[in-house]
Symmetry: C4
Subunit: 171 residues, 4 copies
């Protein structure tokens, strides 16, 4: 881990995750009626639970709006869920105020150009391996794993390691 990445990861007290393309693999599965499915990954979920158990806050910020997201959030114990967002900076300011945090204490993981304004704001901006190039230009760290395929898990482990909170799972 590069020193700057470690320094930024050390300060994180809130992890904000984009949903489609970050917490999922970006696929939008639809049927002919009103059903919508999302594809999450079991090891991303384990990472989020580890982070929450270590006392770090987690929030989901989604551009689209779907009951599936609420369901996955509930399952993982994530309390902060904001959906249907074109602009992610405004709810970020609200949540930051609510939690009494500074920009440098926030990590945001995105994948697309709509994420750029928030990537520019937070202390630790991350983009997933299969995100668009324009977004990666604003990232301090690009994950090795793809969205919905371990990217979130990688970020959780990175933060926990930098903060020396990984030991609970070292056997």
């Amino acid at each position: 881990m590069k020193e700057e990445v470690r320094e930024r990861a050390k300060k994180v007290r809130l992890l904000i995750l984009d949903v489609d393309g970050v917490l999922t693999d970006g696929t939008i599965i639809l049927d002919g009626d009103r059903g919508e499915w999302k594809v999450f990954h079991v090891r991303d979920g384990t990472g989020i639970k580890m982070l929450l158990e270590a006392g770090i806050e987690v929030a989901l910020f989604s551009g689209r709006s779907s009951r599936v997201v609420e369901r996955r959030a509930k399952e993982l114990g994530v309390g902060h869920v904001y959906q249907g967002l074109r602009d992610k900076v405004a709810p970020y300011e609200v949540l930051k105020g609510l939690l009494g945090l500074k920009d440098e204490e926030v990590c945001f993981v995105g994948d697309d150009i709509l994420d750029i304004p928030l990537l520019q704001r937070v202390g630790f901006p991350i983009v997933v391996a299969d995100g668009v190039e324009e977004a990666k230009d604003f990232a301090l760290y690009v994950t090795r794993r793809r969205g919905g395929r371990g990217a979130v898990r990688e970020v959780c482990a990175l933060i926990l390691r930098a903060q020396g909170k990984w030991r609970g799972w070292d056997f």
Copy 2:
């Protein structure tokens, strides 16, 4: 971007997309009853919305027929949807007349041999990375990303950049 590609992209006022294998990853997901699912991608959707906001028309031409396609079109704001087409040239001529466009103002993205007649007709013929070789022989541009996995997004960005309309998303 090669000069010829840029020149063709500059003139585009209508983007026609094949559905299965271009706007989706080509998978046909079926159950034992009458359900049918399609797999779209969030970043392709964002690309189409950007194109529409920039005033470029978008149409879906599908060889199969499914309510899922109408649903995705509605969600993205795509008004021109033609399904159940074995021949894509006839509806193309109709739509071209309706919109008062010339061949050189149309871009079509396909993936298979049934798309060849229309690829031969439009000014800017494109085939996705995982399309068949026979179709690629008629393409002026082959996408780097696969169908349903960012190919459409790549085309949207290419057109917007060539037309100098990308700036709204450059931060």
Copy 3:
């Protein structure tokens, strides 16, 4: 195309396809009730339709049993569907007799060891790219594309080309 492959492909009048892992990508998608989904590919379907239009028979031989298979067969116009087979040789002998064919006029595409007895019997035995090594040892041709991802399409094109019946789709 190697000469022996071409010679075998020339004689094919019946193409038998295993289902899971050949016509699908091998995934078995289940819910908590009785639903079952299968993942087919649009370009495999187009290949089968081309073969049928060229007068070559197509049959599906499945080890499992599912209404999804009947549905996909109907959609493609495939009339010969045998399911729930542990042994594929017995129904093969029946079908061969019904159609008045010889072993050398039959091509079978499989992916697993249960397919080996039939691979040993037919004139043109094929295994998909992601099939098991034990089965590949009995194949005269191994596809470049994976099951459910274009392998069947590749076989259809190979047979049509060898028989000089591809011209209808050469533009």
Copy 4:
């Protein structure tokens, strides 16, 4: 096959499989209601059936809890299913006692750090190709294939070959 791997595989009388990420590809597919889907693979299923027919016991140990797992277990004839486990060592001790086995007669396949305590206990610990590095450190064998994509099949074949029980499928 390395000699130590073969020696361990020879002794196996019980194969314990983690579910998400080992018997499935790790994807958690959810809808907006209460539906949950899992993605299994046909060739993994064939491997498990071969193992059972050869008289080796198979058990599923899942961290999550889902009716889909019971359904797949039933289909394959797997009688030992333990779900909703945070700790996998306690049920392991129970099952081991029930079957009258020693640690060295058990193989466990995992993918994540929660699997480490059980990986440390059994005689033949295995981690799938796409498992996390921390878990791989405790594996005697890492599969070539990924979870839900043939990893389980590879393990079944490895055990049967080491025990000289593969011959039923060698033609």
